[in-house]
Structure formats: structure tokens, C-alpha cells
């Protein structure tokens, strides 16, 4: 096989046994790789209702068919898939850097971790040799420290490491898995799943050649994309980077501020992308095989957070900045650094702190609960202290480490309403009250509140639709974007490069064919994208999620925007949400309950999964009749 390594590695951490099996070629074409292949493999290797922290919950690590090649932004990706301890549905997160390319060279399209090690271990994949090694001396270390320690003890400085930090070890539900020190498979808490398996790190060294099917045409295509990446499609990422969004969102009043109490932040200028680049960005670096480079490395040169160095993007900046009312970039950079140190999803971490501050301001929690931390909005010291407590599960951090949904339920006294999440996953930096296409995308996203499953905010932010109203047709728009995004995350190419695919899915189909030699038409690839959304939906349905979970955070539906300006009074009513959901399910060919129909599954050649939906279709029929 070209592109694909053709092998899946199984590692049973309970017994210590490992073996490989050939990659099912039909799966390769149907589910591509990355999250698509991962979700399908998870379904095959798990039982319904499995607890996310149970040894029976497999953790799947995948590469894509493009991983390992020189393809710009696509040669380096990997993905993790499992059942999320936040949503109890699909957990998936991708990351870039140099880990995925190394894993492909070691010869694997997927690694399936099952069971639970008796004591802390790390797995050392050295081409065909797979060893499970003691990790007790690595416990408590950050992912970056773990990487250094493993390289030192194995005596090879080109080993790539994906590791959890102290948060993952302590089953913090927003724990992530970090590779190459600053790159995170961030969302849905998969670091906690890794921690529940006593798996501290995965170290990889791969020495195999990667070859593509149509070499000359492929290299011509690479050259063309190198040129495209120097052009307008990537300019934002190469210059200000995603923090450019701060002033854009703020001017549209769609930047959730102080835990959704506002949609506009008066301190935005201080934390803008412009300000960040002028004052803190020391260098912009790139992932393996990338030709655009986007990773803005920030260094704090003075003040209380002097010496901090970390990558920065809009989402963490927003979450730990405006969402907490904090207008100091040095504190936000420190917060990001702490998230990397403990190994926590920085978006969720910031949103949780914002939630805690809202609880504090409303008197739901007091100084007694916070061990004296004055958790007021805008208190940057409180931000840093609360992140530390969460990473260590210390004091109030122990409750916050559960994520806003569970924390809200545990704290009670109205805290549930202050918990801004969808399916247990914390919101991201788009005010859904005034971005109604995005609101639909977020509500139906199979991994909970997230902008990266659909990118539907673009229609609203760019003014392609009236963002303040709902109407039929939005369902189809969201569906089409979702189908494209699952392809992107399965090939794995970087979403920042999506604009360079001038012909969209057609360019991607060509790329797939040139690399793998497997003929793929744009229509077939589109269908794979649709198939992956359906398999993800089936995952969620099998685990008990459904229409009731395709909803929006409490404040989005109950607390209209109060800021004077373009979005004043905006919110999403239940009626509007229902209209959007009906429209979306119809576009998807699903039932009113959001269940894929048997016809749809047949159309997508997913007959083998029909038994899962059949049961659910039966159940939902009765009350209607």
C-alpha cells in the first residue's frame, strides 16, 4: 500500500501483549484515516455503555494516509479517539507537530490501546519493536519534561513523544495529550482516558521509507501548494495568527465575555492579536513538512510572569482572557503555559475559570470554597491560581477538574445555569446568541461544543447570512461544512490550510489518489465525509445521546445579549433551535429524533451498522404512535 502503512498495532496494557493486524483496505477507503478510521475502530472494539475510565474503553491513536509525506501541513498529523469522559460520546482530538509523521514511519495507521496497566507505564514503539516500560519515575512530570526524560533515558534525541501531564494522571476531565511539547490533542478529555489506563506517554521512533503512488504528479502538486501557501489563503495564520479574531469578534459583539455575561470586552485592545504580536511574539515556527508556519511563540520578558514561553492561539487567549475578564496578555500567556504544564485543554480550562468566577461573583461560592482566592472577573492572579488548583485537583480545583457540567451539578445553587457547555464540553470563543448558523453547528457537533467540527461561524462572521435570524437552509450549510471537516480531520490535513484547497474536496480527492494510488472521486470523498459524520452519530446514539443533547448552553437560550450594539437582545429560543435541528436532520436524512435512517445507511454502504440504529428506531417509534 502507498500512503497507508497497512498495519494496525494492538496493545493490551493489562496483559502486556501486543500484536499487529493488516489494515482493512475497505475501511481505509470508506473511513480514510484520522478520526474517521478511529471512530470506526472504536465502535468495533468496544461494548455499548462502556465507562470512559474503564479498561474496556479503547483509546485509539491514528495517522492519516497523508502522514509521513512531505505534503504541506498534512505530513505530520495524528488523532486520538475514545469515549469522552466529558460528553460520554465521541471523544476525538487531533494534533500536529512531528509525532504523526514518526508514527507512520514506524509503520502504523492506528494503535489501539486496551486494558489498564498495573502501574504507570509508557509505551516505546521503535519500528517493529514495541515495549511497555516503567513510568513511575515520570509521574508528576509535565509532557515536556516527560519528553526530555524519555529521550535521555532511551538515548535518542529524535524520539517523538505524546504524553499526559499531572492532570491526565489525576483524571482531570479536560486533560489533553501533548506532543512536541506545545502541540495538544486538546479537546474532549482524552488525556484522562490515557491516565485511566496508567499510560503516561507514547514514545515513537520510525525509520521506514514513506513512498507515494504517483511520485511526479504528487511533487508537482506539492510545489503548487507551496506557492498557494505563500498567498492570501494563509496570510492570517502567517501574520497575526488566529488572535486576529479578538478585534474582529469584539466589533461584531460575538466574543463571549465574563462567562457569557457580555458579548463585548472593553479590554479587547489590550489583548488583541495586534498587541500580542507587537509585545510578545518572538518567533513563528512550523510543524514537520509545513510550508506556511503558524505557531506563534510568545515570550514574557518582564513582570511577574517573566520567562514564560509558549505558543498562543485565539481560543486559549479568549478563554483565559475576555472570558475571565482578564485584560493582561502576560497572565494569559502564563495561563497557557500552565495548561501545557499540567496537560489540560486550554479552552476548557479558561471557560471553567470563567465559570468559577461567575459563581464567585454571584455568591454561589465564597472565599471559604476557594481557599481565600478572590475569584473576581478580571483578577489575573486568581486565573493563575485556579488553573494550578485544577491541574493538581487541589481544594476547589478538585470539583472544577470535573468540567463545568459536573461541577455545576455538584455545586448546585444555580451554578448549573452558569455552566456553559454542550454535551458536557465547554464552549469556545464564539457567542452563539448572535451567530445562529454557528449555534446549529455547535448544537449538533458530535464532540460537543466546538467550532472545529463545522466552521459554520464563517457564514455568520463574514456576513454571508443574517447571523441574527434562523431560517431553513442553515441545516444544509452546516451539513456540507461538517462533511468537509471530517474529511480534513481524517486525511489529516491542517484546518489552517483549508483555504489553499481552492477546489475544496476535489483537490483533496486528487491528493488522496496521488498518495495512495486508490482511485477516489470527489463524490466518493464527499460521501466518505458524510459517512464519517454518520458513524460518529451512531457512536453517540449507541452511547445514549440523541436530540435532547443537541442543545445549547443555558445562557445562550435564556439570557439575551445586553451590550449596546449590533447584537443587543440576541439569544436563541427553543423554537428557533427546533427549527434549526429539524432542518439539519432533514438535510442529513435522519429522523426527527436525529437517528440515521436505514435507507441513509444503505446509501452510504454502512449496512453493517444498521443493527445499532434499528434498536433505537424501534424505541423512538412507540411514543409517537
Amino acid at each position: 500500500m502507498y500512503g497507508y502503512a497497512g498495519r494496525i498495532l494492538h496493545i493490551d496494557l493489562t496483559t502486556g501483549k501486543t500484536y499487529t493486524e493488516p489494515l482493512n483496505e475497505e475501511y481505509a477507503k470508506k473511513y480514510i484515516g484520522g478520526i474517521g478510521l478511529g471512530i470506526r475502530l472504536w465502535l468495533d472494539h468496544s461494548k455499548p455503555g462502556v465507562d470512559p475510565f474503564s479498561p474496556e474503553n479503547p483509546l485509539i491513536l491514528t495517522t492519516g494516509p497523508i502522514s509521513g509525506t512531505v505534503w504541506p501541513t498534512g505530513g505530520n498529523g495524528h488523532a486520538f479517539v475514545s469515549k469522552s469522559p466529558q460528553s460520554y460520546g465521541v471523544g476525538e482530538a487531533k494534533s500536529h507537530g512531528s509525532f504523526g509523521t514518526e508514527l507512520k514511519r514506524a509503520g502504523y495507521d492506528a494503535v489501539i490501546f486496551k486494558g489498564k496497566a498495573e502501574r504507570p507505564v509508557y509505551v516505546w514503539i521503535d519500528d517493529d519493536s514495541v515495549q511497555i516500560l516503567d513510568a513511575s519515575h515520570l509521574m508528576g512530570k509535565s509532557p515536556a519534561e516527560t519528553e526530555d526524560a524519555i529521550r535521555e533515558e532511551l538515548g535518542d534525541y529524535y524520539i517523538r513523544v505524546a504524553a499526559i501531564g499531572p492532570a491526565g494522571e489525576k483524571l482531570v476531565r479536560i486533560a489533553c495529550i501533548i506532543n512536541d511539547k506545545t502541540r495538544a490533542a486538546g479537546r474532549t478529555g482524552l488525556g484522562a482516558v490515557m491516565g485511566s489506563k496508567n499510560l503516561k506517554a507514547i514514545a515513537v521512533r520510525g525509520t521506514r521509507d514513506i513512498e507515494v503512488a504517483k511520485t511526479e504528479e504528487f511533487m508537482e502538486f506539492v510545489k503548487e501548494f507551496h506557492e498557494r501557501m505563500k498567498g492570501p489563503a494563509t496570510k492570517k495564520y502567517r501574520t497575526l495568527g488566529t488572535p486576529e479574531n479578538v478585534l474582529v469578534h469584539n466589533s461584531l459583539h460575538c466574543m463571549p465575555t465574563r462567562n457569557y455575561n457580555n458579548a463585548h470586552f472593553e479590554g479587547a485592545e489590550k489583548v488583541s492579536g495586534e498587541s500580542l504580536n507587537e509585545r510578545f511574539v518572538a518567533k513563528i515556527i512550523g510543524c514537520s513538512s509545513c510550508a506556511m508556519r503558524c505557531e506563534h511563540i510568545c515570550v514574557v520578558a518582564e513582570g511577574p510572569y517573566k520567562g514564560t514561553m509558549t505558543r498562543m492561539e485565539y481560543e486559549p487567549l479568549w478563554a483565559m482572557g475576555p472570558y475571565c475578564g482578564v485584560d493582561r496578555l502576560d497572565a494569559i500567556i502564563k495561563g497557557m503555559d500552565l495548561c501545557n504544564y499540567y496537560g489540560m485543554d486550554s479552552i476548557s480550562a479558561g471557560v471553567i475559570v470563567g465559570f468559577a468566577m461567575d459563581c464567585y461573583e454571584n455568591g454561589i461560592i465564597t472565599d471559604k470554597d476557594t481557599d481565600g482566592i478572590e475569584a473576581r472577573f478580571g483578577n489575573h492572579e486568581a486565573l493563575v491560581q485556579l488553573l494550578e488548583k485544577m491541574g493538581k485537583r487541589e481544594g476547589i480545583g478538585d470539583i472544577l477538574a470535573e468540567g463545568v457540567k459536573i461541577a455545576g451539578e455538584k455545586i448546585g445553587k444555580g451554578a448549573e445555569k452558569l455552566a456553559q457547555h454542550i454535551k458536557g464540553v465547554e464552549v469556545t470563543g464564539y457567542d452563539l446568541r448572535c451567530l445562529k448558523t454557528a449555534a446549529l453547528g455547535f448544537a449538533v457537533s458530535f464532540r460537543g461544543a466546538d467550532h472545529n467540527r463545522h466552521g459554520a461561524y464563517a457564514f455568520d462572521v463574514k456576513g454571508k447570512v443574517n447571523r441574527l435570524v434562523v431560517e431553513k437552509g442553515r441545516g444544509k450549510m452546516v451539513k456540507d461544512m461538517e462533511d468537509l471537516y471530517t474529511v480534513i480531520d481524517s486525511l489529516i490535513v491542517c484546518k489552517f490550510s483549508r483555504g489553499t484547497y481552492y477546489k475544496g474536496i476535489e483537490d483533496m480527492a486528487r491528493l488522496y489518489t496521488l498518495v495512495t494510488g486508490i482511485k477516489m472521486t470527489p463524490e466518493e470523498l464527499q460521501r466518505s465525509g458524510e459517512r464519517i459524520n454518520n458513524v460518529a452519530r451512531i457512536f453517540n446514539i449507541r452511547e445514549g445521546l440523541g436530540r435532547k443533547d443537541d442543545t445549547l448552553p443555558w445562557k445562550v437560550m435564556n439570557q439575551p445579549i445586553t451590550d449596546e450594539g449590533p447584537a443587543k437582545g440576541a439569544y436563541v429560543s427553543q423554537k428557533e433551535l427546533d427549527l434549526l435541528l429539524d432542518d439539519y436532520y432533514e438535510a442529513r436524512g435522519w429522523t426527527k429524533e436525529g437517528i440515521p435512517t436505514i435507507e441513509k445507511l444503505k446509501e452510504l454502504a454502512m449496512d453493517d451498522l444498521i443493527p445499532i440504529v434499528e434498536q433505537k428506531l424501534e424505541k423512538t417509534k412507540t411514543p409517537e404512535e
Binding site: 509521513g68 509525506t69 512531505v70 504541506p72 505530513g75 512531528s98 514511519r105 529524535y158 511539547k181 506545545t182 525509520t207 521506514r208 521509507d209 514513506i210 513512498e211 507515494v212 511520485t215 511533487m219 507551496h226 501557501m229 505563500k230 518572538a282 518567533k283 513563528i284 515556527i285 512550523g286 510543524c287 514537520s288 513538512s289 509545513c290 510550508a291 506556511m292 508556519r293 505557531e295 511563540i297 515570550v299 514561553m309 505558543r311
Partner: protein
Amino acid sequence: MVKIHERKFVTADPDKCVGCQVCEFICSFTKENSFNPLKSRIRVVRLNPLVNVSLSCRLCEDPPCVAACPRDALTQSEENGTILVDEDKCNGCGWCIEACDYGAIMIHPEKKVVFVCDLCKEQGEPQCVKWCPEEALDLVTSDVLAQKARIAATKKLFQEALKSTTATS
């Protein structure tokens, strides 16, 4: 023999290098028709996110790798200063690797003999330089490197003066 100040080699500007490894992929593809950094003649080092640089053979004067070879497998090209490996003589003992201060000469994972940058002799020009997306790589003489450094330093020293000249001109 070409004089040392005329000898050109591939060098990376650490200010521009972002550690993307495109040079490694292109090198292994050019020389071996596969994507495998282990077979690249140029290698990236990232010490921390801020410190990235690609390293390859610097074509030293009196190259220590040549001197270190007990089997006389290495010679320096009189034409352009590159290191030539006699694959029949090399037995992969690695003395040259130890002698090289830059880690620029390495053992080939399959052939078990050493290999080193030859400035893409067959292609006519180093492909890594051609492909580097950041234009961080350059084929230069040490003299030109020094010239560039001098100009950069002078620009820095006289930035105020330069500003006023551009303003008035």
C-alpha cells in the same frame, strides 16, 4: 583546487529557519526517492521553539572527517570542496562521525556506509535551498556569509540614520 573563499555550502539562517523539516523530506526524496529524514543529508535541530536550524556539511578546510578515516575512504573534491565517499572502502566504523563537529556526516541506515551532502551534484543545485518555504537556506561562500553579517550589523547600528534617509528620500 577551488579556494576556500569561493567554496559554496548550504547554510540556514537561524532567524528564518522554523524547523519545518521540508529540507529533510526534499533531500531524502531527491537522493533516495522516499520520504525519510533518516536518509537526509541535512538535518533540523530544534533546541526549543525559538532555536531552530538546519545543519549540513560545511565543506571545512582540512576536513577532520577525511583526516579521521583510517581506510582513506573519504576525500575532498578539488572541484567544489564536497566530501566524496568511496563506498567500497567505507566500512561504517564512524570515526568520521566522531570527528565532525556538526553532525553532518552520517551512516546510511541501509547501505551501512557514510553519506554526506554533495550539493545535489546530479541536479545541478541543492534542492533543499530551492524548496525551503522560508527561504532560510542559502548556498553561499563563507565570505558572503561574513558580508551579510556585516551588513546586518551595520544596519542595526545605524537604524536611526537609515530611517531618516528613507524618510527624506
